[in-house]
């Protein structure tokens, strides 16, 4: 049985979709050119994700965890799903943000790290 959690999330828009990031993981928001760069905490330390627009902070957002079938078939699935203002929100896992929110440099570094990890695991 899935239980919803309520928390404070930072809502941002990327490629037409609304994403949510736990406010506790957000270190700061910056702007470069026409994009917003959000620094977030993760197990690897911190990373940046990119957004087209930052909607703001929602303090009491009810987030439902995704169903098991989604986890199986949706790689990079979100941490949870929410609804705010009539729009669906995908809550991002800071450790595995979707490629949509990833910066290109960060994606290359992650791919290298995953490759090393897989090599290590292979080894």
């Amino acid at each position: 049985m899935r239980v919803a959690t309520v928390g404070s999330y930072l809502l941002l828009v990327r490629q037409g979709g609304v994403w949510g990031v736990s406010n506790e993981t957000v270190l700061g928001v910056g702007r470069q050119e026409n994009e917003y760069h959000i620094q977030i905490l993760c197990q690897a330390g911190s990373r940046q994700i990119v957004a087209d627009e930052v909607l703001g902070v929602v303090e009491s957002l009810k987030v439902w965890p995704p169903a098991g079938v989604l986890q199986r078939f949706w790689s990079g699935f979100p941490r949870g799903l929410a609804v705010h203002g009539g729009s669906p929100i995908l809550v991002v896992d800071p450790d595995r943000p979707p490629a949509t929110l990833m910066l290109e440099e960060t994606m290359e570094e992650d791919s290298l790290q995953e490759g090393e990890a897989s090599d290590g695991r292979a080894n």
Binding site: S8, L10, N23, V29
Partner: protein, 561 residues
């Protein structure tokens, strides 16, 4: 052959009025008369003697008287013999004189009829001295007649030439008069045209003057228009410059807006971060979240204001650009208009110059056409006078032609009168007719050859158009036509058939007078021209008329020889 009568009436010798005939001389009667005178004187003497004796006078014995009577008889006897001799001689002389008179009468008769040749032949039978004198007079008359004939021929020829010239002159003068009339009419038309041209030229001169004036006005207007367009161009250029300045200022405003946008974005970032920190602070950050929210609204309003100002500025910039484009196009158009206006000004300057020249030329043309008009009027007047003169000359020439016609006719009449003389000359028609008659007479036993003879004679005589021979009964024997004279004309049927010749004046004249005759003038049936007939009798033996030879003389050809 014609229907007119011979004008020469020669049936009888006409005695000059006032002269009685000469008494006839009778010598026998004179002798008898002498004897009666003597006897009468003797008887008177005897009775006087008896009476004297009765009255007591001396007594003379009758014997004395008888002696005296016998003496007188013997005395008178030779006288009577001489008288008888003289009477005989006188009779002889009278007879000779009668003979001479007869010859003289015959010669004078020949002279009367104009036959000078016959007259001279008769005069040869006169006594020597009389013959010589008569022949001399006949020769003198012959020479005179020949001179008259020759002169009349020349006069007739000259009159004919004068008539032809007069006719040509009259014709030419009439044509000249007609031409002058046409020229006068043409000149009048030209004068009218010149007058119209003069009027038109005057109007053109006025119009040209007005055009020049309009040109001047137009030039001034164009100059003002050019100045105006130049002013407009300058103003448009000024507007464009100010538009550029506004464009530059708007760019600065855009930069400011960008800065404000950046500030509002930074403020927005700041508010986001503040909101994040406020959310992270939980309850403690609730007031800070309000501040962050306000800051976010501020940033949002700033951004909205910037957007609004940017929109306005965009509109303003668009208007500015449109204005700049419009001013640029206006500037170009103004430049084009200015160029056109300057071209128009230049053209108007040229037009003004041309109008001025046109006005001047039009005025000159007007003056010239007015002078031409005046000259045309003078020419028309002169031509009218010339026309009158030519008309008078034509009338005069017509009269001259009429006079020359009469002169020609008179010359022809004189020529015909001169031809009434039979002269020993080839120009004498009667002489030629007698020659022809002699040749025809020699062929009287072979009439078939006469036609060929006549044809040959016609070829030698270019002024004779027709020759014919008839018998004494009036029947036509031969006919010859001068084809060189009559050409291709058809010989009339009645001429070919020789119908009614006995009624022709030439036939009747010859039959009546027994000598060559010349008819009066008539129109030929063959050539439709004026002609006359010369006819002569043809004798087989003297006194035996065998036929009549006639030939028709074409006056036109005859007078040209």
């Amino acid at each position: 052959m014609d229907e007119q009568t011979d004008t020469r009436q020669a049936d009888t010798i006409s005695e000059p009025p006032g002269l009685s005939p000469l008494p006839e001389a009778d010598p026998a009667r004179a002798g008898r008369l002498s004897w009666w005178i003597v006897l009468g004187l003797a008887a008177v003497g005897y009775f006087l003697l008896i009476a004297s004796q009765a009255q007591g006078g001396p007594e003379w014995p009758p014997l004395v008287f008888l002696v005296l009577a016998l003496g007188a008889v013997f005395l008178l006897l030779p006288i009577f013999r001489a008288q008888s001799k003289v009477r005989g001689q006188l009779e002889e002389s009278l007879q000779r004189s009668r003979d001479v008179e007869a010859v003289l009468v015959e010669a004078l008769d020949q002279l009367r009829t104009g036959d000078l040749v016959g007259c001279a032949q008769q005069a040869e039978h006169l006594p020597d001295r009389l013959s010589a004198s008569f022949i001399g007079a006949s020769d003198a008359l012959d020479n005179l007649a020949q001179q008259i004939q020759n002169s009349s021929i020349e006069v007739a020829s000259s009159a004919n030439s004068v008539n032809e010239i007069a006719s040509e002159l009259a014709s030419g003068s009439s044509e000249q008069a007609a031409s002058v009339v046409e020229i006068t009419a043409a000149m009048e038309e030209l004068a009218r045209t010149a007058s119209q041209i003069a009027d038109n030229a005057t109007v053109q001169a006025d119009l040209a003057a007005k055009a020049e004036e309009s040109g001047n006005t137009g030039a001034v207007a164009v100059e003002e228009a050019v100045d105006g367009v130049e002013e407009v161009r300058k103003r448009i250029t000024g507007i464009a410059s100010r538009a550029d300045t506004l464009g530059t200022r708007s760019k600065e405003i855009y930069r400011v807006l960008d800065l404000i946008t950046e500030i509002s974005q930074e403020t927005h970032i700041l508010s986001l971060n503040a909101a994040i920190e406020a959310a992270a602070a939980g309850e403690h950050g609730r007031r800070f979240s309000v501040v962050a929210e306000e800051v976010r609204r501020l940033a949002q309003r700033s951004q909205e204001s910037v957007d609004s100002v940017r929109n306005l500025l965009d509109e303003f910039a668009s208007s500015i650009r449109a204005t700049v484009v419009a001013t640029e196009e206006g500037t170009k158009e103004a430049a084009r208009v200015l160029e056109r206006a300057r071209a128009a000004a230049s053209a108007i300057d040229e037009l003004k110059g041309a109008s001025s020249d046109t006005a001047r030329v039009a005025k000159e043309i007007s003056l010239a056409t007015q002078q031409q008009n005046a000259a045309s009027d003078e020419v028309v007047l002169t031509l009218k006078e010339v026309s009158q003169v030519v008309q008078r000359m034509a009338d005069g020439l017509k009269q001259f032609s009429s006079t020359s016609d009469r002169l020609n006719h008179l010359a022809l009449t004189i020529q015909l009168l001169a031809q009434s003389f039979h002269l020993d000359s080839p120009r004498s028609l009667k002489h030629r007719a007698l020659e022809w008659g002699g040749q025809v007479s020699r062929r009287s036993d072979n009439w078939e050859a006469v036609e060929a003879l006549l044809q040959r004679l016609l070829e030698e005589t270019p002024y004779v158009e027709l020759a014919y021979l008839t018998g004494a009964d009036g029947k036509q024997i031969a006919l010859a036509v001068n084809n060189d004279l009559v050409g291709d004309r058809e010989v009339p049927a009645q001429v070919k058939a020789g119908e009614g010749l006995t009624e022709r004046p030439w036939f009747r004249g010859v039959i009546r007078e027994r000598r060559p005759i010349i008819t009066s003038l008539y129109d030929s049936l063959l050539s439709d021209e004026l002609c006359f007939t010369v006819a002569v009798p043809i004798w087989s033996v003297p006194g035996d008329l065998k036929g009549v030879l006639g030939f028709d003389v074409n006056v036109g050809s005859w007078t040209k020889i």
